[in-house]
């Protein structure tokens, strides 16, 4: 069995052993969404206006919540150290880890956003646009928050520092996604912006793993 297949099998087993890790961010997302009408007003016209943006922000927060400790357990049980000895570039393994994380932990989040959309009475065409933006934009967000997680690996008292450090870099993604949502509400063309978001994700997915691997190397080198 190749290294990649074994890695995938291990991640599958880990995900199956800790279903809470997948479930908790979804739970968090639904809680944040239920706070919106409570804090604002149950008026469905108002909710429909801001609903899609609220869902976007809530999904972003939920994603940050479950990516914060992405490399922590692999770091403390020495798996990351073993990665250095494999005959594969570290950036490649990191990229795989990020893809698997996106599949197991971010896609479930995206899957429940339609329910949140219904609860905030978001119109169907906007909801479809929202789903498209989330699918193409979350890979970039996963990569960046993964970098935050890797940079703060070595320090035990970092808390949510990784999130704080990386969040300013989310700005272009959030702005483009907001542009898509505004256009979807107007009924104008959204595909060019979706393509731009996709391009951003692709560039992030190729370049960020290199930075993440540098950050991991640094933390492993520093600990001995």
């Amino acid at each position: 069995m190749s290294i990649e297949k074994r890695m995938l099998a291990r991640e599958l087993k880990l995900a199956a052993a800790r279903p809470g890790d997948i479930f908790k961010p979804m739970w968090f997302l639904m809680l944040v969404i239920s706070m919106v009408p409570l804090a604002l007003s149950p008026d469905s016209a108002l909710l429909a206006d801001i609903g899609s943006a609220m869902i976007w922000v809530a999904t972003l927060l939920a994603l940050l919540l479950n990516t914060e400790h992405l490399f922590q357990s692999d770091f403390s049980d020495g798996v990351l150290e073993q990665w250095l000895f494999l005959d594969r570039p570290l950036a490649w393994l990191v990229g795989l880890k990020l893809i698997v994380h996106w599949l197991f932990h971010v896609v479930p989040l995206i899957c429940i956003t339609p329910i949140a959309g219904l609860m905030l009475s978001v119109p169907t065409d906007v909801l479809i646009a929202l789903l498209m933006t989330l699918v193409v934009a979350t890979p970039a967000l996963t990569c960046f928050s993964g970098l935050g997680a890797a940079l703060t690996l070595g320090s035990s008292r970092s808390g949510i520092l990784g999130v704080l450090v990386m969040m300013p870099l989310f700005v272009p993604v959030v702005i483009l996604a907001a542009g898509v949502l505004i256009r979807a509400t107007d009924g104008s063309e959204i595909l060019p912006l979706i393509a731009l978001l996709g391009a951003f994700s692709l560039v992030a997915a190729t370049l960020v793993p290199i930075a993440v691997s540098a950050a991991i190397r640094l933390n492993i080198g520093g600990s001995n």
Binding site: L151, P168, L169, V171, A211, A215, G222
Partner: protein
Amino acid sequence: MSWRWFHQWGSPRWFYERAGRWQLVCGWLALILLVVGSLWGLGFAPVDYQQGNSYRIIYLHVPVAFLAQAMYAAMAVCAVVLFVWKMKLADVAMQAIAVTGLAFTVLSLVSGAVWGKPTWGTYWVWDARLTSMLILSFLYLGLIGLRAAIQDPDQAGKACGILVLVGVVNLPIIKYSVEWWNTLHQPASLKLTEKPTMPASMWVPLLVNILGYYIAAAYLVLGSMRAIVIGRERRASWVKELVGRA
């Protein structure tokens, strides 16, 4: 060819002594330029026909805003030097610039707000340049926080270097996306490629102040670099000697 000019940068002691002299020169030069530029700008430059006297805050705001952005670029250069030549002094510079840069970013936000109140009628608007400056201040804060969280200075320096490089690639993207998102700020009043929209009697003192603030920034960065060098080398014999003499 002798490589002495290059290798001497690896010596903290050499840097500490030289930087003290450079700091003195920078300090006096900045003081003269800032006094001349500020007096000229605040006292003698003509009143703006639209904004009245409130426009005079540009003699602080514009140089500080320039510096806030330039210092991030300077940090990126330091990060490249750190990774390519493993020069520890580049990391010291990065640490010093992050704090000074944050100070300038906050100063430009505050001076902008003070100018915005009489001109726009509000301290804050979600305009493109204000927003990207705010994001820049979060980037600076992130760097300072990351360095504070990691104990080993070498490791902290490299982590900050990675973050700076990722940030500097993203900064133009952030800037243009924010601009695309919203623009109601007046167009930039001083551009390098075009003739300024102000008369010479207004922009000459501004230029003097910009130069003054750049040199003042060099003075501040050199000062905190010296302090950081002393702190990191506190176990070295030359530092003990220095402290013993004082």
